[in-house]
Amino acid sequence: MGFVHRRRRGAELFLLVLALAVGVGGYAAVGLGVEGEVPPDIIGYGGWLAALMVGAHVVVRLVAPYADPVLLPVVAALNGLGLAVIHRLDLADGASFARQQLTWMTVGVILFVGTLLILRDHRILARFTYTAGLLAIVLLLLPLVPGLGLIINGARIWISVGPFSFQPGEVAKVLLVIAFAGYLVQHRDALALAGRRVLFVDLPRGRDLGPIVAMWLISLGILVFQKDLGSSLLFFGLFLLMLYVATERPGWIIVGALMFLGGATMAYRLFGHVRVRVDTWLHPFEYYNGPAGENSYQLVEGLFGFAYGGLIGRGFGDGDPTRVPYAESDFIMAAIGEELGLTGVIAVLLLYGVLVERALRTALISRDGFGKLMATGLAAIFALQIFVVVGGVTRLIPLTGLTTSFLSYGGSSLVASWVIVALLLRISDQARRPVPELEPVDEDAAAAESTQVIKVAR
């Protein structure tokens, strides 16, 4: 008897209750630690979170009954923890980021539900391969339009629509995954088979280099014109990973890595903002008191935070995470490291690991090539983002600005991440649904008619 996946919706509900405990418990712990009492609005806050979770769960139960049971609770727990940490920073700063983040989370869950309701079969997206690609490029170019684009902290990646500012790049990355998956499913054979072998490595043909060169140029363009290191790295890495998965050829990784090294060296030579990032990464303590925009104050304060937190952290309210500029967005891992310690940081990293593992697992069991590639791409988005951000904050790699999905403050990123999870659930629902039991084909009739003269085409 074959392998049949269970629905596991009960397990999902159980994990969601635990995830709610993480979110509400965090909120309560912040109130107790900072103000010495359980926050008076905890019932309303907890009720709101619970309503969002139950709503999402009911919709999954109805329209994606076979979907993966772990994805939604993990995401809910990360989002709840993020809200608690942002709320803790708000209490110290007097800001109201947590309230806005809760609003964005609500929008994200509504879009999550909408995606699941509207998109009943992910293969429909394969029809929009080139539309999605074109739209992604337009979205990436939008911040460069004069009057529409905003420059915040030196990076030109925002657009302002009325009272809101928005990062179109966050939507573009989802569209790019769809475009890459559709393109690679169609062209994988040409990209995988042609080429010559040099030193045990199959190198691709020159004329097949078109797409990878185009993607490289787009990534360099983002780096030069929008001064956004993180997105540039994310888009190129994403394309390279999907190309490798689609063709199973290490040659592409080698070509891509060489192109990346070339681009990175060039950027280091030519652009001041790249050089600053590398210098502060190599010698952070020498640039601690440097002039604005060229110092490593943020990075070093983040490292101090990790060190002060130690193994089990100072506890909510006892640390001093507001010393780090932008602790609620880029450096939220430093705030978690300071108040929850290494124990908390490892738990968070494990949750991201589980998230990526489930997405890759979905890719493995998916029955169609497009679904496989799309799930891989969506997993790669999370994996690359977390690696780049956490690596940057912990000084493993040069610091680049990307958001920590679900944890850090940022509306566009949060909303886009919820949509990505909805897409993953849709693919995993299709993948885990049992293969239909159709009556076996009548073999005798098939054999009797298998040989016959065929009319030749004129």
Binding site: A19, G25, V354, E437
Partner: protein, 158 residues
Amino acid sequence: MSELTYFLIRIAYLAILWIFVLAAISVIRSDMFGARVPEAQRTARAPGAPKPPKQKASKRKGSPTHVAVTQGSNTGATAGLDRAPILIGRGTDAAIRLDDDYVSTRHARIAASGDQWFVEDLGSTNGTYIGNVRITQPTTITLGTQVRIGKTILELQK
């Protein structure tokens, strides 16, 4: 509150976090091996055993009633879904006979499972496509999904 209380809160929250992580991992572990198919269901499917009585799916509004050829040399040919499974090919026993050189004798079939319709390739030479994707396993189709067989396109219609 005393220092000890703060310490306990700190430990308690880390414990909640880790309980969640471990619970998630244990769900993944129990999910690895799938489900045992219930014994009753297995015997019902065993060869020789009487087939479970087919439930007539209640005709819901908007459910497809027939398959139609929308493109190719046999445009307009149809077959009612009440005679499912519907065999498609160049052979004489096919419910929809196609005069298309790129179609195998027994090319594909359309069958129902529950209230969903599936198209299944029967080992044809040139394959069965939905969109640009060649199908390798029974694949769900809905109203208007275009199934390409050789130079012919079929779809479910109301």
